[in-house]
């Protein structure tokens, strides 16, 4: 949480002025008992009515000045808090955007989203409250003590004893309850999880007749939550009674000391009233503080969650190579040299000792079973993950030497999951290349076999895609994501099982169209369909992360058992013809 405070930096003035004005207001408030004492001692004792009226006018003036100060303070506090959270959100968003795929896999998107939204809001209200009130309360407490000293030093010693005791109670309760609140939150998360699971899995739960069991599971989680809540409630409920005892104890002693001092003529009656008033003021402030503590405790917990995100650092170091630094003369577009990959916290290697070279303009097919590492392999080229052993060369240079931006600019990636964003088709396609002309967009649509259906959509390129591409079919989304990658005229095109929703004919036409593009890119096609990669220049066969074979269709059909197995499982007739 502490480190987040640097986002207040741009609002130094407000951060200082807000509590300052608040303190000013508080000081005026502290003067009130003194004025009242004067009314009693001078006005009443001297029967001086004009004096009483004058003093009451002073009170009203104090109130007005206090109001002005307080409103100013509120303004500065609000300004600092909103400015703080805006800056925090900006940095957090930027930070999350620069996390590498490894980190994102580990944390998961959904918690990142709650941290960006509700957690930041909580912290914002926390900052706002702290600026406004958290300084005010201790100030009133200590201010009351100092004022008491101005009245009478000996009587003020009562304050010197009471205040530390009060702080022990307040901070003690706070310290004990803070981790308990965190526990409550964690228990609530569990209740939420079970609820979610039972909604998303309602069919499975019912199919397996698990309703009763799930109910017991829920009630158990719910009971744990309730117990935790009750426990923390009992502890934090101690704060008010304890402070009450301390403050009233202080008052009792004050009365006694006051009685002695008045009796010996050191103090006046009005001064005793003032002293008691100061003690009461402390009580009022502490009650306010107690109500605040929950908000602040929550804000700190949320702040720590945000801090955790900031502490996550992309382990990927950016390279230095700029776009112009590499001569595009290299014949080998992509080279894998003894590459292995172990995902973080994974037990075994996902890819082991992969070596092959892809020449400029070649088409490389990658095939293999589920979990055999096909996607992992292509993900290494745009450096979504870093190889744990060996190296990958693009245009003759290690991918780690490139600036990430430069490297990824060369590559068009079409991922397994077809993701489109809210906006027009044209806007979506321009993700590939910001300044693409309409002609370029249409060209990409033609190649990706998407033009036909885009033409039938209302507005064509201006057709509005809904969030997540809900208003398009799976095949249409896939073709648009391919078009998006093609718009940038990539040197390397990666199709990660991205034609799975296309029928064979469209798939074949798509591949042909890519081949026929001018400056045709080096293409990597990941697929489970043998037909999709059959005509590739080279086919890499993966089996459980190991390269089981590489070569053309014919070569592999003759020499690679894994490939044979895959191929014949999809083309059984041919198996009958020449297999048996």
């Amino acid at each position: 949480m502490k480190k987040l405070l640097i986002y207040l930096k741009g609002y130094k003035r407000e951060t200082i002025l807000a509590p300052l004005f608040k303190l000013l207001e508080a000081s005026f408030e502290l003067l009130v008992p003194l004025v009242m004492a004067a009314v009693i001692d001078k006005g009443i004792a001297g029967q001086d009515r004009p004096y009483i009226v004058r003093m009451c006018l002073v009170l009203v003036t104090l109130g007005i000045v206090g109001l002005a100060c307080s409103i100013t303070a509120q303004y500065f506090a609000a300004k600092a808090a909103t400015g703080f959270s805006a800056a925090l959100r900006h940095s957090l968003f930027e930070h999350i955007q620069n996390l590498s795929f490894t980190e994102m896999d580990r944390v998961g998107n959904s918690t990142l989203i709650t941290r960006m939204t509700s957690d930041v809001n909580q912290v914002q209200s926390g900052v706002n409250l702290v600026l406004r009130l958290f300084l005010r309360s201790p100030f009133i407490v200590f201010g009351a003590m100092i004022m008491a000293f101005t009245v009478d030093v000996k009587a003020a010693l009562v304050f010197v004893v009471t205040i530390p005791l009060l702080s022990i109670v307040v901070f003690g309760v706070m310290l004990i309850s803070m981790p308990l609140y965190r526990k409550v939150q964690a228990n609530l998360d569990k209740v939420l999880l079970v609820t979610r699971e039972n909604l998303s899995g309602s069919r499975v739960v019912r199919a397996f007749n698990k309703e009763e069991e799930e109910r017991e599971r829920f009630e158990e989680c719910n009971q744990t939550l309730t117990d935790a809540q009750k426990f923390v409630g009992r502890i934090s409920g101690l704060m008010n009674p304890l402070t009450y005892i301390l403050v009233n104890g202080g008052i009792i002693v004050l009365i006694y000391v006051g009685a002695l001092r008045v009796d010996s003529g050191v103090l006046t009656q009005g001064q005793v009233v003032a002293l008691i008033n100061y003690m009461s003021q402390i009580l009022v402030e502490l009650v306010k503080l107690a109500n605040l503590i929950i908000t602040v405790t929550k804000a700190i917990a949320c702040g720590n969650r945000i801090q955790n995100v900031f502490e996550m650092h992309s382990e990927m170091e950016d390279g230095l190579l700029e776009a112009g630094d590499v001569a595009a003369e290299e014949r080998e577009a992509v080279v894998f040299e003894h590459v292995s990959l172990t995902y973080k916290e994974a037990g075994a290697e996902s890819l082991s000792d992969i070596s092959f070279r892809a020449l400029r303009g070649e088409t490389i097919g990658i095939i293999g079973g589920t979990g055999s590492g096909k996607s992992s392999l292509v993900n290494l080229i745009p450096r979504f993950y870093d190889a744990t052993k060996g190296r990958i060369l693009v245009d003759g240079r290690d991918v780690k030497d490139y600036k990430l931006e430069v490297l990824r600019d060369k590559i068009g990636v079409v991922m397994q999951k077809a993701v489109l964003f809210k906006g027009t088709i044209a806007e979506n396609l321009r993700w590939g290349k910001g300044d693409a002309t309409e002609a370029e967009l249409l060209e990409a649509l033609v190649v990706s076999q998407a033009k036909e259906f885009v033409d039938t959509k209302e507005g064509g390129l201006a057709f509005k895609v809904e969030q997540g591409g809900r208003n398009l079919s799976g095949g249409q989304k896939q073709r648009l994501t391919i078009a998006r990658a093609l718009v940038r005229k990539p040197e390397i095109l990666i199709l990660d099982d991205s034609a799975s929703a296309l029928d064979f004919a469209t798939d074949a036409r798509l591949r042909r169209a890519i081949q026929e593009m001018e400056d045709s890119p080096t293409v990597f096609i990941v697929s489970q369909r043998a037909a999709s990669i059959q005509y590739a220049d080279k086919i890499v066969v993966l089996d459980d992360g190991v390269m089981a074979g590489i070569g053309t269709h014919q070569e592999l059909l003759e020499s690679c058992p894994t490939y044979q197995e895959i191929y014949y499982s999809q083309f059984p007739k041919e198996a009958g013809a020449d297999g048996r």
Partner: protein
């Protein structure tokens, strides 16, 4: 007007329901109220005592020590009793609130388990979850605050009024006249700030939408190097949000200082009238001092209550949303003498079955189908054609709107849901795993399975090899919806689940869509073994499955348009023939065997 009245009525109804839940804990409620009264009375009595004490301390040599001591003792006793009462009251309120909340949550969850799937399918999960979690939480906060502050607040106002009246009537009037001003001020500000808060929450919603879309698809954003563009869009909204939040927060935060100013006016009013009264001799100094502290105490609850009232309104709105869920119509209950079939053979008869989700849109009409034990029924058709409808009916997730479905000659509405569903093994396209170990997930259908049985089932479905490689094997903890597993692996686990319990009937819904063909062949072999002698309904994609089926149901636009076996359907030369031909005509040759209908979204 009408609207307002209705809203009020439903609010009252909600409050009544809340009290019904509270009924169980009414002892605590009564106790808490009593304690609140005690606390308030004693808290208010203490200033009166201090006032008396002050009157004993008049001036040099004029101090009555016995009087002072007596009062000191009284204050001490009062304080201890108050503190104790306050703590017990807190504990009572806590207990009451959280137990009521627990009861409501349990009831809501119980309802979720028996809601018709129609409800679950038509409501976003997030919405239901937010009712059970966020709404209940809000409600709890409101309730607790209501108990602790409203009670004591009202008691304080009444109590102080009484005490003040007992001291001096005239000055009391001054206080009563000025105080409501703070109400007016608070109300005035609240009305003005409402639109600002609305704008703020709208802008916030817009920003959350962007965050959701961009962070949710961060990988695509990075792949296309769109970080800066996205950040720019984000910043634009962020800037607007900053502006409107500032306004909303600032204007609403004026309330506090403004009401405090009103309070200081009250204080001054008491001061001036009180001081004159003392000068006139109708009041003592001690009485003035205690009056001043009453004036402070009296105005405070007014500020709090205006906050509590909005909080309570909010809590009641939340309670209404939860009650809506709890009162939702549950699925048709089982008849009292529903049969519990144990030894199901797998004879399934559909007689004149009609079904539609919406009245206007009839999907299945007059379908007749007779399935003998061990037969295979393949359902084919383009994605989105409603193939899952049939599954919904067979498993009785939905009830037929006409005709009947019989299993072994018994109408499925006359048997327990449990026995019907236990008769089916189901693997859906959308894999679902729950948080727990791999083992927990596999044994869902057969909780008492031995370790050997589990491994055997996992081997049969080819899941064993990947499970073995996980850090803790079968005891590996998987998080929400199987997070770290690949789609294919998740599907293998779901298949293992069915493999383990070997039910007499099977429902396989595009179950192999995310598994590569090579693994699939292995699984299909395993399935073939499993299907032997078992009635199976398969939403099929592969030609081989379809050709081997005894009956093929061809669906289009949610309707079953053709029925028959492969040969008879080809001979019919209808939609099936067209679908089949198109695969061959467009495929890479006569060898293409993957029947993959147009736009099948088997990816993902």
């Amino acid at each position: 007007m009408e609207d307002k009245k209705m809203r009020q009525e439903s609010q009252i109804a909600a409050v009544k329901k809340v009290f019904r839940y509270l009924g169980k804990y009414r002892i605590f409620l009564v106790f808490s109220m009593l304690l609140a009264a005690v606390t308030v009375a004693l808290t208010l009595y203490v200033p009166k005592l201090t006032g008396k004490a002050v009157d004993y301390i008049v001036a040099e040599g004029l101090v009555s020590f016995p009087g002072v001591f007596k009062i000191m003792l009284q204050i001490g006793i009062c304080t201890l009793i108050t503190a104790l009462a306050q703590w017990i009251m807190n504990v009572c309120n806590n207990k009451m609130t959280y137990q009521v909340v627990r009861d409501i949550r349990n009831e809501a969850f119980r309802k979720i388990e028996i809601l018709p799937l129609k409800y679950i399918d038509s409501h976003p999960y997030g919405e239901v979850v937010s009712r059970v979690i966020a709404d209940v939480d809000q409600f709890a906060d409101g309730l607790l605050m209501g108990f602790t502050q409203l009670f004591t607040g009202v008691a304080t106002i009444v109590g102080t009024l009484g005490f003040m009246l007992s001291v001096n009537v005239k000055i009391t009037f001054v206080v009563v006249l000025i105080t409501p001003v703070s109400f007016v001020v608070a109300n005035f500000i609240a009305k003005r700030t409402f639109t600002m808060f609305k704008l703020q929450s709208e802008t916030r919603g817009e920003q959350t939408g962007l965050i959701d879309e961009m962070i949710g698809n961060q990988k695509v954003v990075q792949a296309f190097g769109q970080e800066n563009e996205t950040l720019e869009r984000f910043d634009e909204i962020n800037g607007r949000l900053q502006d409107c939040s500032l306004k909303a927060i600032f204007f609403s935060s004026i309330t506090n200082p403004a009401t405090r100013f009103v309070n200081s006016l009250v204080y001054t009013g008491v001061g001036i009238t009180g001081a004159f009264a003392v000068v006139n001799g109708s009041l003592t100094v001690g009485q003035l001092s205690c009056f001043l502290s009453y004036a402070n105490q009296y105005t405070k609850p007014f500020n709090e209550i205006s906050g509590v009232v909005t909080e309570l309104q909010n809590a009641i709105a939340c309670a209404q949303r939860i009650f809506d869920l709890i009162e939702e119509e549950p699925q048709v209950p089982e008849t009292e003498n529903a049969l519990h079939l144990t030894d199901i053979k797998g004879h399934v008869d559909l007689t004149d079955v009609s079904f539609s989700y919406l009245k206007e849109q009839r999907l299945i009409e007059h379908l007749n189908l007779n399935v003998k034990p061990g037969q295979r029924i393949a359902v084919v058709g383009p994605t989105g054609c409603g193939k899952t409808t049939l599954i919904n009916l067979l498993m009785r997730f939905y009830d037929v709107t006409g005709g009947r479905i019989e299993v072994d000659g018994t109408d499925i509405r006359d048997m327990t849901r449990q026995s019907l569903r236990a008769g089916f093994g189901m693997v859906l396209q959308e894999t679902w795993l729950k948080t727990g170990t791999i083992r927990d997930n596999i044994i869902m259908g057969k909780p008492d399975a031995s370790a050997e049985e589990i491994v055997e089932a996992a081997k049969a479905s080819h899941a064993h090899s990947f499970i073995k490689r996980l850090p803790k094997g079968y005891d590996t903890w998987i998080t929400e919806d199987g997070g770290s597993l690949s789609q294919g692996q998740k599907q293998l686990l779901c298949i293992t689940r069915v493999m383990l319990c070997r039910p007499p009937m099977l429902i396989l819904d595009e179950a192999t869509s995310s598994i590569d063909t090579r693994t699939e062949v292995k699984i299909q072999n395993a399935f073939a073994r499993l299907m032997e002698g078992r009635t199976s309904f398969i939403v099929a994609h592969r030609l081989s499955t379809i050709r081997e089926a005894d009956v093929i149901l061809v669906m289009k636009d949610g309707k079953i348009i053709e029925k028959g076996n492969h040969e008879s359907l080809l001979a019919k030369n209808g939609f099936y023939a067209e679908l089949y031909q198109s695969q061959f005509a467009l495929g890479t040759g006569p060898n293409a065997s993957g029947i993959v209908p147009v736009d099948n979204s088997a990816c993902c």
